[in-house]
Amino acid sequence: MGATASQAVAAPVLDVERVRRDFPILDRTVNGRPLVYLDSGASSQRPIAVLRAVEEYETHSHANIHRGVHALSQAATEAFEGARERVRRFINARSTKEIIFVRGTTEAINLVAQSFARPRFKAGDEIIVTALEHHANIVPWQMVCEQTGCTLKVAPINKRGELLFDEYVKLLSPRTKLVAIAHVSNALGSILPVKRIVDAAHAQGAVVLVDGAQAVPHSQVDVRALGCDFYAFSGHKLYGPTGIGVLYGREELLQSMPPWQGGGDMILTVSFEKTTYNDLPAKFEAGTPNISGAIGLAAAMDYVESLGLDAIAAHEHRLVELATAELQKIPGIQIIGTAANKASIVSFTLDGVHPHDLGTILDHEGVAVRTGHHCAMPLMTFLGLPATARASFGVYNTEQDVASLVAALGKAREVFG
């Protein structure tokens, strides 16, 4: 992954005007101005294809899955399991047994923490995360540390937002049981060298979980090429619905893990003396899942693949380069996160204007950005900042959107003098 300059030149071009027509929400106005949506890193919008797929299912095919023999139940089961196969192909997993549907990235990480780590880690064992992680890839491991007595280690970054790879390698030892890292930093956009991180961890016998929430929407992810053991992501950042996400896990690891939640669908037989658990992936999917969400996610994957992930990566890389260049021309702007390898996100501050005030003024101009600590408070502390403003780009963003952002920042300067 990583849209380098050479890739940007070679990649096919995205027809953004056509793409924009696929997203009805982009037609609306905010505060009397056309919506400029620069918050896809928090949640992307949905194309008509996803809205239709969900509506079609809810209108014509809904019933519970893996139960009844009636026509609707079979249609729902087929659509749900079809979505699982769609996900498998999207990330190139070996088997649909390795695809667990969850609520989102957060639930996927918690599943691994409680079902993989908690039963087998003990005092003296170590978990490594990096300094730029989202709280969802910090707190579940802190909970495991409290529960088992194992220790959390933090691989440092530099001020540009790049992992200090040699420092990370120094932390690795036979005590390291698990390495949990972001593929792309949600606060800074840095792309981490996942393959190298995985290889170094495996050399010490450690298992690697990758938080791919910010990576999957922006480039082709191949879990086998990365070599990771677990990969977690959310549907709603990938132009799909909220409340659906995916945990990929290598089959032998998932087989070795106890169920996380108990209930219907995850069992083969139940008696008061002994219950036997279902096979993968059902073992980890207790209760009725988010059926329409999975179907919407499959439609979203069809959609982004129809645009071409290389074209998407190149398009967003151009916007990041443009936004970085244009913002740097504004006096008082600091770009936060200047890693050599970045995807889709530009975080910044403006001297004399708190990010929260910036957010309000930009919204007034119709420009939606995220402001705050981006659920990465340890990273903000390291950078010495209470908050930043963050523009994040998706398939539907244009050069005009960047111009609107720049103009709105001029307005902020005007208000604050």
Partner: protein
Amino acid sequence: MDLKELYRDVILDHNKRPRNFGRLEPADSCADGHNPLCGDRLTVFLRMSGDRVEDIRFEGKGCAISTASASLMSEAIKGRDKAEIGTLFGKIHALLTQQNAVADPSLGKLAALSGVREYPARVKCASLCWHTLNAALERGADARNETPATVSTE
């Protein structure tokens, strides 16, 4: 709506040059306030004379609304007693949250905060300092030298 309704000159001025800014030593009471949503943090220090706030200072980092609100509050409550401050807080709360609320003349410069109610996401910025002040008042004089009380808007 005009942004100037939110960012009035009084607000911008108190953001740029907050009054009563800094630590108060010695203080009879202090409390920390934190708005996790935006990262605003402030500490309110009080010197009391019985029920009356003899002196107040605050320090911290926050957006223009939270900084200006704390600055305006510090001016407004200096020399007032707990009952008067309670009344003032009630009026401010109404001003920040009720549509069509008319600023009570007794609010003085605090009335400049009336634009905030059009921005529901920002109401907590303006009210953080008042909740923090309340926590400091409740701790009273016996709280000296202890870890400050903490209030959070979440």
